[in-house]
Amino acid sequence: MITCKEATKIALQAEDRAVPLAERLSMRLHQRACSNCRRFQRQLALMRKASARWRNYAEE
């Protein structure tokens, strides 16, 4: 099983490139077992939504 640090790196890269299937799978497996990394993944999702909202907020 990969470490939290590795899972975090994959999660961050997924924001900016298509992550290979094998890496995505190892990240998902890790997240199943790790609540910290699940929370981190949700934080990233919130940041993604916040960025989108901010872009539009800038243009209101």
Binding site: T3, T8, L12, C37, F40, L44, W54, A58, E60
Partner: protein
């Protein structure tokens, strides 16, 4: 629509907000001034292309985004030479122990909608983006605000994809840290 005095006043009134975004993107006051001046000049010369069915600000921000990409292109050599010098310290070592585990328990940020509908949250977000080190901030803005694809950014700045991902990795971790401290830890939600 012609360039009436009223139109000119409206343009002038929107100058500060355009400048704010230009500075956030370029991290260079002189280039930001140029991009904003070019934007306002374009708006003055072609007032008829403002259809009036969108807000003036939306239209101007659209022009500004093109002018910002122009500025990035024009200054790409200088940007790529400063690329590695101001990226700040690596957060990874602060966040993770040597065995690769999180040093601290990660926080639940709750329901996104609770935070996102608050104007104050957007202010904190903006302040956190502003605090990113120069090149990290620039790359983050190119990706999230100008909505450029990774390969376009690499091409414009003549950097490798690996370098871009490292910088965005750092920027996103830093931003997350700032949001945690500036918003979620305060119990503002």
């Amino acid at each position: 629509m012609t360039a009436t005095p009223d139109y000119c006043r409206q343009l002038e009134a929107l100058r500060p907000v355009l400048l704010k975004y230009a500075r956030l993107q370029l991290r260079n006051p002189a280039w930001a001034e140029d991009a904003v001046s070019e934007t306002l000049l374009a708006a003055l010369e072609k007032p008829q292309s403002f259809a009036g069915n969108s807000q003036l600000k939306t239209w101007l921000v659209g022009i500004l985004k093109h002018k910002l990409v122009d500025q990035i292109r024009k200054n790409s050599r200088e940007l790529s030479t400063t690329a590695a010098s101001d990226d700040g310290e690596d957060l990874d070592d602060l966040l993770f122990a040597s065995d690769g585990h999180w040093r601290e328990t990660q926080h639940d940020w709750g329901n996104p909608e609770d935070a996102l509908r608050q104007t104050d949250f957007m202010r904190v977000l903006e302040a956190c983006v502003e605090k990113l080190p120069g090149q990290q901030g620039r790359l983050f803005m190119m990706r999230e605000w100008l909505e450029l694809e990774s390969d376009e950014i690499c091409k414009e700045l003549a950097i490798t994809p690996t370098n871009l991902w490292v910088m965005l990795h750092r920027a996103r971790l830093r931003l997350r840290d700032c949001l945690q401290l500036g918003w979620f830890a305060g119990g503002a939600t």
